[in-house]
Subunit: 421 residues, 4 copies
């Protein structure tokens, strides 16, 4: 281990792990430690963090409100791209890590630090996301990942270390059943009874949302307006990204919306089980899908759907600050050019029900689709089908030359008395 470290910027939460790390860095490297906490909407006490960090030994402390930047520059672009990992996970944690790490790099530059550190474990995704951002933005900095290098192997040993070093534990020593991550986009839960994939999560685990059962018996209708694939108003009231998401979180959580229980494939090769609460995000994703359906042609949408899979993969993998993500965003931004309009939906006991959508760029034309008279010429369909089906017909004919072939076409020809060539 290279001991030549003078000043470290630590991504600090005030919890057990990063408190122990703060002290351990000082003890191990005899260096200064700058503690940095980002407010990304985790809704927890940040008030006493400063004091706590200093008490544990931090030279200086940064507590930065990054909520608006998070929603505007990270969450909404990924949302516009329809990025959902493995079809279910809305990437709440994945999107926050690059922003936190980027701010950490900025502080390192301002402070003249020569190293950065984080509290992510050696089995998870977050270590990768932190460190890929470090590599992308400041590859010259030394990275210290204590959970991969120190001798502490368990929560119990960490508590022991904390006690031995006089770290103020307050309530952080008490048993945490779950490993959680919280920001304005979502809250995740892992561990506890979830580790057996057959177990149903305990209702007490959920902290953000009502259960569908507890939700009000009355439905509520919500109308969301979008401009170029970005939400801009709720129920007719124009809002900035942060308050808009807050409002949708509020109404979604009340109505039991946004719980997802899934098994995902981690970056380091293993499967893990997680439960997510993403109330506002779930509403937004359902609405966007509808808006896409009336404003995008088949091809643009099909490519967007294909690219969305890859976009989600790389965000999950911590590759936010890459030329590839920028290139995909160029497609997404152009594809979203006409994704302007309104979606009307109803929330009721966990359901998000689409009930209407409109757009000045709607490709749905009532008179074209309706069953009455219109300019559409039914005769055209004959020519269309003949050519659209030409290859199918040619193939059928050609493949039936195969005498050994079985199947309906052959049987049918036999029944019809056709002699095979």
């Amino acid at each position: 281990m290279d001991k030549q470290v003078n000043k470290v910027v630590l991504a600090y939460s005030g919890g057990l792990d990063t408190s122990v790390i703060l002290k351990w860095l000082i003890e191990t490297y005899h260096c200064e430690v700058v503690a940095f906490s980002a407010d990304i909407g985790q809704g927890e006490e940040l008030d006493h963090l400063d004091e706590k960090a200093k008490h544990t030994g931090a030279t200086s402390v940064y507590i930065d409100d990054l909520r608006e930047e998070f929603v505007k520059d990270y969450v909404f672009p990924a949302f516009r791209a329809n990025a959902i990992y493995e079809g279910q996970y809305l990437l709440g944690t994945s999107l926050a890590r690059p922003l936190i790490a980027k701010r950490q790099m900025e502080i390192a530059a301002m402070e003249g630090a020569d190293a950065v550190s984080h509290g992510a474990t050696g089995k998870g995704n977050d270590q990768v996301r932190f460190e890929l951002t470090y590599k992308a933005l400041a590859p010259h900095l030394k990275v210290i990942a204590p959970w991969r290098t120190w001798d502490i192997r368990s929560r119990e040993q960490a508590i022991e270390y904390a006690k031995a070093h006089g770290i103020p534990l307050r309530d952080i020593s008490k048993a945490n059943i779950y490993s959680r991550d919280w920001n304005i986009w979502h809250m995740s839960h892992e561990g506890g009874e979830l580790e057996n994939t057959w177990n149903r999560p305990n209702e007490e685990m959920y902290l953000l949302t009502n259960s569908p059962q507890e939700a009000p018996d009355e439905e509520v209708e919500v109308v969301i307006d979008f401009e170029h694939g970005i939400p801009i108003a709720v129920n007719g009231t124009r809002m900035d990204p942060l308050p808009l998401l807050n409002e949708l979180n509020r109404v979604g959580a009340e109505h039991g919306v946004g719980r997802t229980d899934l098994v995902e494939t981690r970056l380091v090769g293993m499967k893990s089980r997680g439960v997510y609460e993403t109330p506002g995000g779930t509403i937004l994703f359902r609405a966007l899908r509808e808006l896409e359906m009336i404003t995008l042609d088949f091809d643009t949408l099909a490519m967007k759907n294909t690219m969305a899979l890859k976009y989600a993969d790389i965000v999950y993998a911590g590759k936010w600050f890459t030329h590839f993500r920028e290139s995909m965003d160029a497609y997404m931004a152009t594809a979203a050019k006409y994704m302007t309009g309104s979606v009307r939906l109803v929330l009721y006991k966990g359901n998000v029900m689409i009930v209407g959508r409109s757009s000045e760029y709607s490709l749905y034309l009532e008179d074209l689709a309706s069953f009455g008279e219109s300019a559409y010429d039914h005769q055209d369909a004959t020519g269309f089908i003949n050519l659209y089906g030409l290859a199918t017909g040619v193939q059928a004919m050609v493949h039936n030359r195969d005498r050994s072939a079985k199947g309906p076409a052959r049987e049918m020809r036999a029944m019809a008395g056709f002699s095979e060539k």
Copy 2:
């Protein structure tokens, strides 16, 4: 119009359109007409169809129960492929058409008919699905699509024609607000107030499912067992495909599950709005997704997801009887080799909540993913991240040679006092 037609097999439902067509074929071609009705679970009176068809002039009548074949050979393979058109439509109508058309071809062969006819309009998808199947299986038969060729332009004119020709109308002349299609997999609704995409569907439109509001206040838990991606048991009771789907339809419908309101892109280029009720199908798709998550590796799943988009497209397009669909099914069948296991879910007022999953082939290993001690070596992560992130680091370095570039990396290097080459 070539008048040389001796015997036509008509896909006949007993409704207004195909009743008029039956008569019109006789009048126009002076030919025999064989009426054929498939029971694919539409749950309507088929009892008097025989009599009715004969009364309208049919030479002979076939009423065939294809329900088991439909579920086993069409619905379940497409389901295993995770085929969902444009992310939402479970392909209920699309899957039925090739089967109906195939049986029609078989009857044509048995009856020595030289033509087939269907009642699909010139603006919809079904004409394409019928006729592509005809081309694939019996390209020698003449195809008659009256809605594209006759002079009848509206429902009113069709009723007039029926009255003028003594076709028994019974209740079919009464106003149908909606255009519907029903089989054991789903019921679809188009037309009426749906033609304005902003309108919320009237509750009276729904015929299969309770609304979430009407559904019982008590949740119900359902466990579904799968073998190679095909459902084989519900709540521990092994069932054949048809009763299994019936059972899931029953419980799903009761609990308000499976309503979807969407706008889709039709084959003939226009957008159309449809509402679908697919209670059992919706439950099955949610369950399958979960089973995939624990039994498929990332790559196999990612390709399956990509292929599923294409699979849905071609089923929607009526290209069931193609070499391409067979080739994709070969992938799907092999990919499903280990998709054996159980999924536990809860139905409650419209929600399908996943609460557990298990498989003898589960790739989720509790001790690998848990946060305690295990065989997993945390140190490996350092090497992994270094190489996994190598390209990102190299790119960052190389791209920053661009003096005109803006962005965090450059600013950071500037802040850190790096002089640019």
Copy 3:
């Protein structure tokens, strides 16, 4: 047939077909005809076209040099996207049609015409390309496609019509074995002996390029410089798009480069056989591929390769003026941000041999890849492989629980004396 046409703009080449069409339009619609010819580098006499068109009855004649616009705004963007249809066809004709049709629309607007016409047949791709552009840019104009509507069924009948109507035939009546299309990007050949896919093309068919056999016995080295994926210099001499392509065509044709003999899938469902000569284009595509390899990361390149397939499909299909193509170009332009550098290649008797490439943004770092000492830590590879291969190992273990499974893993475990659970 709606006879209400006052003025038609005809895409006119002066050949047999469009000469007959010019006259036929006048006879059939009693309308004015504006003849329009685009110079897109077909290298044929355009000198007497004006006179010829007027003699045949044209009210006015436009002969526009679109070569620069063609190369700059159509060919090079598609080239940057690596658009190759079905892996082989460089889209020479496909790219020209939208430009010609767009100019035709502009002339229609200037002339106040109410219809447009083209000479493409009813079996080919070009009719689709012309008419999709018309629909995209001026859907209000009437489209007249004589080959699909008139009674002339063959070349012989067309010549008869020409003679009967006093159309000056000069040399256009003499037998044309091949159907050809020529512009600055390529020349295509269809028909004649090519219609039997087993036949080797006659050497006389080729008009642009030397055969490899005829090409000089001395190789030549060519260096091409690119900026953001667009070629800007040859052998160190900066050139505008048009002269640059001319120069590469010259040297490529001399050295026997760019002949392709293929079977392709037409839009209207049939296969057709074509032979293409694309000397400069072939050189450029080989060079671009190399430049991509040193300047693009794996992910950006993989997505670009995937998108290139789709880009080629829609250009082939005449969907140039679409939101989808614009969206893909947004990706392509951003992906090409660092595609700046030089490629060194050797031309010799039909071969394009890559022999060198360099870029200020090259991701190839000599000291990283070399086999000597470097900063790369070999130990990292152990961790990388352990995690990169973790899923493979887990799967192998889990899948071997399948008692019925066969395969090397199972046999190996058996040989190794492992008892199966």
Copy 4:
């Protein structure tokens, strides 16, 4: 380092590296070493390997001829899948590694060995391919990768070690400019002047093929027959896989065919430059592409092309023994069902020129594609284009509602005097 190793099976070539490793394993682990060499067509002396290995200390020696298995079970299936890494590399080395590693596992089982070892370095792809195969087939075996763990850092130090330990060096100590890999499918070259990507390879580097310049002045015609995508005959002579490939290698090498100079993206994140000689493989790939063009419909081919990219990626990555590769092969085998026929090509001084192709399943029908009279109804094209272009027209109309939009459509409408709403 865990010293508990009793018997190691070493993938042994008799070269400097594996000779040193053999001795080093014995010295380090005090274990038995079984030396294993596979004959995969590298065409080098395997005669004295036995003696040499024993002299260096091997307990026993296996020299197995795997050439037929290699071609039949590895090369040809990957070929049928059209697997080409990053568009250029035919995967010669990538395909050999899993076979060698599998045989190594079998020997380990037979010999009761508890470890395996290979001589791949810590910067290359081969270590990953060897070890992923180990993980897939025998995860219980210990893996020893000396280049990542020992103190030897360079070729010079390895020679020193050899001399110090009395390892017979013969000619292996003499300077090797290039790092090479050779088997029946290809020979690769890295290092030397290639490390500067701008340098043209020296002609002396090439060992398998004539240069185009040296190749005969007379062309030669070759006809290859395929059955289900696998080559079965050359010039009408039916051959087994191994002699067939040998014959194509012979004629290809003579005519200067199959040299490729490229930069590729390694698994461990860096770019590397390599030159490949793949004479027979290059001929086969060109021929297969042509066969696909006449026997596969557009959709099956498009999916095959998409999947081929992924197939190549995972073969390159050493993931041969995976459920994913098996699943893709299921698609490939079914897609190849009708890929039976003949391709006619001409070899001349480095060129592989396709000149003809035929198949009993050819989808090219001469009378459909020809320009004379036929059953194809030109009128159908009108209906086809109207519906095929419907979405384009609707979009154009809708998007032009955008008052701020610029572009040809808007300008055109303006020119035409349309007033905008």
